[in-house]
Amino acid sequence: MTDDAKLTAQSAASASGHAAADAGSIAAEAMRRRRRRRVLTYAGRLITLALIVGGWQVLTDVKIVDAFFFGSPVGIVNRLIDWAEHGTAYGSLWEQIWITIEEALLGFVAGVVSGVVFGVALGEFRYLADVLGPYIKVVNALPRIVLGSIFIIWLGLGMSSKVVLAAVLVFFVVFFNAFQGVRDVDRNLVANARILGASRLQITRHVVFPSALTWIIASLHVSLGFSIIGAIVGEFLGAQKGLGLVIATAQNTFDANGVFAAMLVIGILALSAEALMAQLERRLLSWRPPSSAEIADAAVA
């Protein structure tokens, strides 16, 4: 080997050594930066929460705002403990929560199933869509909450009126998404399936429905929230049990802490439902390539 060759071989070796070290340190640096950002984010969130809750408590303690009308964090926690230990006016707190969950879930399931069935049917059969389209638009234009009153007249104060109200709220969201999803199917995929020998039913099952599923699942997030709204508003309008009734009672007795306490419970419910939904969505749409937004999310997390 000549000196020149030796020299270049050496420099090449050291260069690759540098490269390895660089790759390692870059990864470590990126990891460190990500961890730092996460810690800062959580710290910021905690501080925000402490400021709001603490500020609220202090303002009521020094009587700048009236705790009777605005409630106070300590009062809310006390009310919750009281409910958990001694129950509400209508039985135990857990029973109220469970009733509301049950109404919301039943309404959600009924609304999703009917929404998907009608959405896919109208999307697949042009004639049906042309005939029923205007009526669906009219019903959709109504503020659907007012239907709650009718349902209570029809179905009474029991659970069924709330289930139906929740189902109606969910139905329209899911219906329009399923319909749009079916209309949005790639014509190429349908043509390909036809040539491969698929019957109309097979095309719906293997091509149209899975394709619309992306749209339908996107609507499930919103509609899960709607089902909880439906149940609670229904209870609000007239019920014998449930969180909505608890709020209505607290309102009638000027119990601000009670209203806030029930709100807190509902908030926790809604958030857990949201988390479950996200899990389900990930499972159902695992075939999808990660979108750029999701990649960005992963980088932040």
Binding site: N188, A191, A193, L196, H206, W287, R288
Partner: protein
């Protein structure tokens, strides 16, 4: 040699023969006007023949395929497949689209076994056949991947397997390699020829690429700028098996044919271009 305009109709019921007789196709544009995509097209493809269709953009090449596949009906004239007039999707037709029409939510294997499954084969058998075909196109290790995880060339191979698994006697291909890069396209052309030589379906291969057309086909049909009609038909007498498509390009006979056909295609490309670019006087000009 060279120009051999439409041969007489194929007689009897040969599975795999394709005939278009006086076929015209008009579309209604969104504004309500009628647009003629194909006018008086006569085309006959014998069983087992590999026929490439070239022509400028918008000359109705793809429309021809949708008519043969039964996805659409002609406004006038008859289309016969295997001696039978086309009504609905004819039996034994396979289609490879330009954008691979794979279902993104199914795995590679799931996509390949669609054909047998739609035709009512039991799941187990369909799966076994699907795996066989994945082996043939060299993707056995990717059976449980989803399409978005594959490269363009691999997706194309999946599409080919999905189309060929039904053992079509007629394979329609609509610019199947148009979206691939040049190297991948060359590899895929060779693989297509190898597969074709095994099962020998009749092929209509629509393309913009004249070299691709001559390299692959027994016969090249040149179409006029829209409304499309058959301008000329060239028999490609290069010996088979052709071997590597990218090497045959330098053979003397290939160049001769290329020159001949290009001569005919050039004026059409010029006309189509002049129309889209709205350059008066460029008709038949230098393309």
């Amino acid at each position: 040699m060279g120009v051999a305009l439409a041969v007489g109709p194929v007689t009897g019921r040969t599975p795999g023969s394709i005939e278009l007789l006086g076929v015209t196709k008009r579309f209604l544009t969104p504004s309500g006007a009628s647009m003629t995509a194909l006018r008086d097209v006569d085309m006959v493809i014998a069983p087992g023949q590999f026929c490439a269709v070239v022509g400028p953009t918008g000359c109705g090449k793809s429309t021809t395929l949708t008519l043969v596949s039964g996805l659409d009906r002609p406004s006038a004239g008859t289309v016969r497949v295997g001696g039978q007039p086309v009504e609905g999707i004819p039996k034994g037709v396979g289609f490879v689209f330009q954008n691979d029409a794979l279902l993104p939510w199914k795995t590679v294997l799931g996509n390949v076994l669609l054909g047998p499954m739609f035709r009512g084969l039991p799941r187990k058998e369909a799966e076994a056949r699907g795996r066989e075909w994945l082996q043939v196109v060299g993707l056995a290790d990717f059976a449980s991947h989803h399409p978005h995880q594959l490269s363009g060339g691999m997706r194309k191979r999946v599409s080919l397997a999905a189309a060929l698994i039904n053992e079509p006697s007629i394979l329609l291909m609509d610019e199947p390699f148009g979206a691939l890069d040049v190297q991948t396209k060359a590899i895929m052309s060779n693989e297509l020829l190898a597969l074709w030589e095994q099962t020998r379906p009749s092929v209509i291969f629509v393309t913009h690429d004249l070299e691709e057309a001559i390299g692959l086909a027994d016969r090249v049909v040149v179409m006029t700028a829209g409304p499309g009609t058959v301008k000329a038909v060239y028999d490609i007498d290069l010996p088979r098996p052709r071997g590597a498509v990218q090497e045959i390009r330098f053979e003397h006979r290939f160049l001769e044919l290329h020159q001949q056909i290009w001569e005919s295609l050039r004026s059409e490309v010029g006309r189509a271009y002049a129309r889209t670019a709205a350059i008066p006087g460029a008709v038949g000009g230098q393309a």
